[in-house]
C-alpha cells in the first residue's frame, strides 16, 4: 500500500513553488540566489470597488456617456481626476471620488478599484530560483533540514531559533519569554493559554514552533502576526522524537518558519526549513512524497493508541486485522521507540522521511 510521507529530514534538496494569489509581476530572475525575506513577485489588489454611473450623473444615455468618458481600463486616477464632462454651458462633471485604478468602462459606467494594497510574495527560503512562473511566482530550490508540521497560521518569517524545550512534552508559558528573544524563532512545546501567545507577540518573536496547541486558542493563534507551526496537532501532545531531535539540535541556526495553511489538494503544508551548506561529500537527496509500507520503514502514529509516536514497521499483517474497536483493516506491526510493539491500521500511519 502506498503511504504519504511526512518530511522530517536532516539534509535534503527542498524544492518549493511560491505563487501569488492573483496575477502580478515576477521580480525574481532565473538562477538568482534568494534569501527568505526577498520579494520575488508582487501584485496589487484593490480592497474595494466603486461603480460610477456616469450616464446618470450627466443625465445622458449610456451610449452618450461612453463617448464622454475620458478614462480607459488600466488608467490610474488621482482623487478628483476628471472622468467625464457633460456638454452645455454649465456642463456637469464626474470626478474620481478617490484615488484608484480604472477596471472597466462601458454602458455609461466606470468601475474603479480603490484602496489598492500591494501583495508581496517572499521567497520563504534561502535558495536558488530554478523556474519562473509567468505572472505568478517562481520555483526555488534550497538545501537544508526540513520539519513539516500539521497546522500553520498562514504567516511566514525567518530568524535564529532558540530552544526552550527541555524535553518533547515541555510546556511553553508566558514566563519563559523575555525581551532577549526579540526577533528570534522560539522552539516551544505545548501551549495551553492565551497569555503565552500574547507574550510572544509583545516580545516580537519571529515565530513559534510548537508541538501542540489547545484548540480553544486557534482563533487567537490565527490573529498573531508571527508564524506558528504545530508539529503534532491539538491538545496536550508532545513533539514527536524525530522532529524534536532535528529541531533541538539545530538551535541557534537561522530557520524559516513557513506557517502556510495546510491544503490537502495542493499539498502545501506548514514547515520549518533550516538552510545548510551543500556537503562536498554528499549531494542532498531529493524528497520523496510517496513511499510503500514495508518492514524497516520509519512511521508515525496518527491516531491512538500511541498517537504521535515514531516507530519502525517490523511486519505487514496479511489480510485484515481486527482492532479493539472492533474494526478490521489492513495493518502493520510497529515497534515503537519506547520498545513497545503495537499493531496499527496502515491508514493511521504516515512514513517519516
Amino acid at each position: 500500500m502506498q503511504a504519504p510521507v511526512h518530511h522530517i529530514v536532516g539534509y535534503a534538496s527542498i524544492v518549493r513553488q511560491r505563487l501569488l494569489p492573483i496575477p502580478g509581476a515576477v521580480l525574481a530572475r532565473l538562477n538568482q540566489k534568494v534569501n527568505p525575506n526577498d520579494v520575488i513577485a508582487e501584485a496589487s489588489r484593490g480592497r474595494e470597488h466603486l461603480l460610477l454611473n456616469v450616464a446618470q450623473a450627466l443625465g445622458v444615455s449610456p451610449a452618450a456617456a461612453d463617448r464622454l468618458i475620458k478614462c480607459k481600463a488600466g488608467d490610474r486616477l488621482a482623487a478628483n481626476a476628471e472622468i467625464a464632462v457633460g456638454s452645455g454651458l454649465f456642463a456637469r462633471r464626474v470626478l474620481a471620488p478617490r484615488e484608484g485604478r480604472v477596471v472597466l468602462t462601458g454602458e455609461g459606467q466606470v468601475l474603479m478599484s480603490v484602496g489598492e494594497t500591494k501583495i508581496e510574495l517572499r521567497a520563504g527560503l534561502s535558495g536558488t530560483v530554478i523556474e519562473l512562473i509567468p505572472n505568478r511566482g517562481a520555483v526555488i530550490q534550497a538545501v537544508g533540514a526540513l520539519a513539516q508540521g500539521v497546522w500553520g497560521n498562514g504567516r511566514i518569517d525567518t530568524g535564529a531559533m532558540v530552544n526552550l524545550m527541555e524535553q518533547p512534552d515541555s510546556v511553553l508559558d508566558a514566563g519563559r519569554l523575555d525581551v532577549s528573544m526579540r526577533g528570534m524563532v522560539i522552539l516551544g512545546g505545548i501551549v495551553k493559554d492565551a497569555e503565552t501567545l500574547k507574550a510572544a507577540a509583545e516580545v516580537a518573536v519571529r515565530g513559534l514552533i510548537l508541538s501542540s496547541l489547545y484548540p480553544s486558542l486557534l482563533p487567537l493563534a490565527r490573529e498573531m502576526r508571527y508564524p506558528i507551526v504545530l508539529t503534532e496537532g491539538f491538545g496536550p501532545m508532545p513533539m514527536n522524537s524525530a522532529a524534536y531531535k532535528l529541531l533541538s539540535t539545530n538551535a541557534k541556526r537561522e530557520v524559516t518558519v513557513n506557517a502556510e495553511n495546510r491544503d490537502r489538494y495542493s499539498g502545501s503544508c506548514p514547515e520549518v526549513i533550516i538552510p545548510l551548506p551543500v556537503s562536498a561529500e554528499r549531494q542532498p537527496p531529493a524528497l520523496r512524497d510517496v513511499e510503500t509500507f514495508a518492514p524497516g520503514i520509519q512511521v508515525r502514529m496518527r491516531r491512538p493508541p500511541s498517537a504521535g509516536m515514531i516507530g519502525s514497521i517490523t511486519a505487514l499483517k496479511p489480510g485484515l486485522t481486527a482492532f479493539p474497536s472492533g474494526l478490521r483493516a489492513p495493518a502493520a506491526e510497529v515497534k515503537l521507540e519506547n520498545g513497545e510493539t503495537v499493531i496499527a491500521p496502515l491508514i493511521n500511519l504516515e512514513v517519516i522521511g
Binding site: P23, G233, D263, F323, G326, L327, I347
Partner: protein, 587 residues
Amino acid sequence: MATSLIDGNSVLAVDVGAANTRAVLFDVVEGEYRFVASGSAPSTAQAPFKDVSEGVRNAIAHLQDILGRSLLDNSRDLILPSQADGSGVDGLAVTLSAGPTIKAALVGLLAEVSLESGRRLVESTYARIVETIGLNDRRKTEQQIDALLRAQPDLIVITGGTDGGAARSIQKLLEPIGLASFIMPAEKMPAILFAGNAKLAEEVKSLLGGFASLLHISPNVRPSLETEDIEPASRELARMVVEVRKRQMQGVDTLQAWSGGHTFPTAYAAGRMVRFLSKVYSADKGILSVDLGTSAAIIAAGFKHTSTLNVYPQFGLGENLPALLNYASLEEILRWSPLDISEGALRDYLYQKSLYPASIAATQEDLALSQAVARQALYLAMQFAQRDFPRQARRIKPSLLPLFEPILAGGGALSDASRPGHGLLLLLDALQPAGVTTVILDQNNLLPLLGAAAEQNNILPIQVLESGAFLSAGTVIAPVVSASFGVPILRAVLTYENGTEARADLKYGTIETLPLSSGETGRLKLQLLHGADVGFGAGRFPKGGIQVTGGALGLVFDGRGRPLELPSDPVRRRELIKKWLWTLGGG
C-alpha cells in the same frame, strides 16, 4: 433456470470518496444482475498523488485480485469493452464525492421564494453558500461586487422570476455577478447556473457567458409562484459539479472518458436512486436514505409525489469536523457516548481527526468518540433535512420524522460501526424513526453506484436491489407513547413461518429484540398499552397482525419514546447506552 432478459453486459461502478475509492462489479449471474465483488483503495485526490484516477486504478487492481480476472491492461487503463478471454468490463459508471466543499453564491429575488428554492438546489450537492444576494439586499452594487470577490465562489446559482414574469429585477442582479466575475483571475472565474425566468436565458448567456468558467442554463426552479421544480436544475447542477471537479482535480477527465460521461456526484446518484425507488415501491410511507461519510452527510427522501436531497458538508466527518461545534455543544455530542470522556478530549478529537480524515478508530475510546460524533452529525443533518420534507407526509405526530419504509443507511461512519448493532443503534439515536420500518445497512455503499449505473442499464439496479446485496438490520418497531421509565408499553407475539411463536414485552425506556433471520418472514401481533402508537393510531394495530421481515438483528422494539430523551444523569445515561448496545449485540 431464469431466462435472461438482458444482454449480459458487465458494469463496473466506481465511487471516488474523500477517504476511500471503491470499485464494484455488477455482472449477470444465472440470468440476473448481481453484485459480484468490491475492491477498495485510499483515494488519491489529495497531495501527494493529486490524481483521482490513481486511486481508481488501485481500487480496480484490488478488485481484479479478488476476482482473479483482468480489468486493467498493462498500461493500467481500463479494458473496455470486455474481451473474449473474460478480461475487462462492458461499461463504467462513476460517482464522485471527493473534492473540497464547493463555495456557492446564491442570487435570487425574494428570500422565501426563489432564494429558498435556490438554497434547496445548492443543498442538493457538495456546496456551502458563502454569499447571498437578493432583491431586499440593501448593499450598493459595488459592495455586492466586493462581497463576491471576498467570497471567491466556485459556483454562482441564479434563481428568480417566474417564467414569463417580470425580468428587470433579475437583470439588475446580473450586474454585480458579471462585474465581479470580470475582475476575478481567469482561473478563479466561477461556474454559473441560471435557473430563473426562462425568458432571460439568452440575455444571461450574452451578459455572463464571457465571464464564467462554465455557464449552464436550466429550467426555472420556480416556473410559477406556487410551483417549485428543483429536479431539472439539480440534474444540471450535478453535471456542473463534475465539470468543477475536473478543474479542481486531475484524473476526473480520465474517468469521464472511461465512463462515456456517466460520472455523477455521489449524492446526486443516491438521490436519483431514492427517487426511483419511491416511484416504484412507495406506498403511503416515504423512502429514506442516509449516508454519513467524510465529505458530507447526505439525506435523500422519496415520497409519493416528491423527493428531497440534502447534502451537508458541514456535517461530514472529515476536515469539516470542528465546524460541528458551530451547531452543537461538546455536551450535546458527549451525551451519546457510552464511555466517560471529558469535553477536552472530545474537542481535541474533533480537531485532530480533521487533520487525518481517513484515519480510523483503533481503540474502544476512539470508537466511542467517533460514534458519538457521528450520531450528533447525523441527528443535525436529519433535523435540517426535515425542513424540506412535504408537510402532508404521514407522521405519527407533526414534530416527528415522517413514516418511512425502508430506511437505507450507508457511508463511512456506518461502515465504521463494527457490528450491525452499533450501526442500528446509531441510526435509531440519530434519526429516531417512529412506527414500523425496515432498516437496511448498505455496507458496500451500493446505492449511489446503482443510481449511476442506472443511466446505462435500468434493469441492473432493480435486480441487484432484489438480490440481497444489502444487509437488512431488521424491522424496527418504535412506538410513540407517553409513559414513565419501566412501564410496559407493548406486548408482541411473533409467529414464525413454521408456526412457532416468540413473545416480547417492551417497557418504556428499553430496547428488546426477537430473533427473525434475514430472508425469513413472520406475522407480528402487537398489544399496545398506554395509547402507544406505531402508525395505526393510538393503541391500535391490525387485528390479524402484519407481516414482518427479518434481518441481522431480527425484530427490534425501541421503547425509548419519541423524541428520544436521554437521562440527564451522565452515569445512568452511560449505563443505559451500554445496555442498549448490549441488547443489540454491539456491546
